[in-house]
């Protein structure tokens, strides 16, 4: 269980969840299983997935996470910034030098 209290800081690399949940979610398909960088925290809210199922979880931090288009689509020189709940994210350990 995540605590939802600023687990990540700007600049942290994170990987998004790749599983395809059975119901409503706010992690777009194109941004699943991808590595991005935390831009900034953007408030704290109960997980939309839970609210859509009539459950009210505790609030957790929501972050702006920036992805390189090439990492999402295999092409493109732009970035896409997606707003994601902490539950969707796991830390990416930096590779050893």
């Amino acid at each position: 269980m995540t605590t939802g209290t600023d687990r990540f800081a700007p600049g942290d690399r994170v990987r998004t969840r790749s599983l395809d949940p059975a119901g409503h979610t706010r992690l777009p398909r194109y941004a699943r299983g991808a590595v991005g960088v935390i831009v900034e925290p953007a408030g704290s809210h109960p997980l939309a997935d839970d609210r859509a199922r009539g459950r009210v979880g505790s609030a957790q931090t929501v972050y702006h996470v920036r992805f390189a288009a090439a990492d999402l689509f295999g092409a493109g020189d732009h970035t896409v910034t997606v707003e994601l709940w902490e539950d969707y994210l796991t830390p990416v350990e930096e590779d050893a030098p």
Binding site: D20, A22, H24, R29, Y30, R51, A52, G54, L72, F73
Partner: protein, 99 residues
Amino acid sequence: MARINDVGGMAGFPPIVEEPDEPRFHSDWEAHVFALNGALIRRGVYNLDEFRDAQERLPVQRYLAASYYERWFAAITTLLEEKGVATAEELAAPDDHGH
């Protein structure tokens, strides 16, 4: 499961069409649907995420054939039935009666 609303990155949709001087609503009923949804959410009949979820669960072909506010209205009637506010028969379109 990935749902029909989740279109980011998908291929195959038509060119983008701009409507010059587009009105807020294209017909009076659209404004009514907009206001109805706000009223029901404020009363706590359902929440905004349940409303989005109900649109996403529409049968795919119906979803794609529907206009923006037709999707809204379909979601509203779905939720009113599921929340036990009214029966499917009470919520059926006028044309459906007697069929």
